[in-house]
Amino acid sequence: MAAHADVKLAAAAFCADLKQECDALTQTLGQPNADRTAVLTRLSIALKSLTEATVFLPAYDQRACAAMLKTISDQLTTAAPARAKFTFASRKAKSSTPAAGPPESAQPLAEQRLPPPQALPPAALAPRPTARQICSNRNCYIAPPPVPISSAESSTSSDVEVADLTRCVVSLLDLHVGALHLKNLDRCVLVVGPIAGSVLVESCRNCVFVICCRQLRIHNSVGLAIPLHIASHPIIEDCSALRFGLYPRAALADFASVERFEAARIDPNPGASAHKTVEDFCWLKRGQSPNWVLMSSDDEHACGTEAMALATSSVVDEQALMDSLDALVARFSVA
């Protein structure tokens, strides 16, 4: 499948390149004293590349590209200065022949369709008050203060972003999370209760995530161990060495109570969890993807309960906490 994706990309890239070249050529042709031989040379080079590209180019694109080049070559011939016909007309009449300029009709269509340049809106966004951010930290224990789960409705839950952490233990058990974004985490342990929405993991390495959610997407990550309870099929893209297991509900006790599952509208029955049917977007063949495995039942139990113990530990000794973090990561999530 990877090869197919490459072909698609190559076709798209080729079309884009050719379009750019054509636009450049029409623009050159539009100028009053365009160098026609240069345009002709570039046109023939483009034509040659198109012929070569027919190997991978779909029929539609072949036609479209050929049509683009045809337009240019038509323009080139019509815009060519009309060669003066040899006649015995008087000198006066000959000199009155207007210098052939580019015909009006040859104006490139593409240029007319381009939107007028406009000032871009300021990219800076005011931080949203409801979105929580935990970022840029290392070697520490992070547990945001509990938020009272008053109405236990998904409408009161907030998005949480956890980013750029190295060697941290993060406990989100006391939070009522709507959607969770994890980005650039290295050697971290993160534990969270039932989430009504989705979890997006991007560029994480050697972590243990204990997650319960509706949807899970993992991108560009290596070496994760994920005890998981999920309502839909988890998907992975450009990942390797991922290990999935069962969510340690027993160890989580109150944090994963039936009420909290119900608040997130997720079936608490372990049999309803789809954590075993991971879909790898980079492995569309039949058979098991080499990029992920299921943990053995001993491992998933140990991994889940130990991560849980770390996240809820009241150990004051930071060194001891970091040591157990390292041990956990080394045991379960090193690629």
Binding site: K8, Q118, P121, A123, H181, I235, E237, F281
Partner: protein
């Protein structure tokens, strides 16, 4: 019966509209489709491939195509462009700021696509039920929608989970398309 009458009758029989739903991953495309179709939305997995639904709507037959939005399969979107009457672009209004940049780039590159040239463009600012959601005006600004002059477009704030405004949006897109295609009727 004259030929014109025969043609008109044939045309009336199949007032088909083809709608393509696209957007980044986790925008809620499948949820919107299933919600409109009245299906269960609690166990939707990220789409690997595509879903098609055909439904009757105000006398039109809508063929709605929902194509997965994961990065690795976005290059396949172009396979679905042909004969599209309406493009529905779905945005997660509560998304991270860096993903809005992605979203804008993907949308604007779609709009240069020749095969989508005639399509009406509906932007669904989805997930308005979430507390962190941006308003449709803010999203219009972020995606630089004002710069779009090649397509008829409209932005509608909605929530697939509650079902708010989904029909408003679909009404707009169907009306806009039918004005264009079936203006003779």
């Amino acid at each position: 019966m004259g030929l014109l009458t025969v043609l008109k009758k044939l045309k009336q029989k199949e007032k088909e509209i083809r709608i393509l739903i696209l957007g980044l991953d986790n925008a809620g495309k499948t949820t919107i489709l299933k919600r409109i179709n009245g299906e269960d939305i609690s166990t939707i997995s990220p789409t690997l491939g595509f879903n098609i639904k055909t439904l009757d709507y105000n006398g039109y037959k809508l063929n709605i195509w929902d194509v997965g939005g994961q990065k690795s399969i976005r290059s396949y979107w172009r396979n679905y462009f042909e004969q599209t009457d309406g493009l529905v672009w779905v945005v997660d209004s509560a998304d991270r700021p860096d993903r809005f940049a992605d979203c804008k780039a993907e949308l604007h590159s779609l709009l240069t696509e020749e095969r989508l040239a005639g399509a009406s463009l509906l932007i669904f600012a989805n997930k308005q039920d979430l507390p962190g959601a941006l308003s449709s005006e803010e999203i219009a600004k972020l995606l630089d929608l004002k710069a779009i002059q090649t397509h008829h477009w409209q932005i509608v704030g909605c929530s697939a989970v509650t079902g708010d405004n989904l029909l408003t949006g679909m009404d707009w897109v169907v009306t806009d398309i039918s004005k264009r295609i079936y203006m003779l009727d």
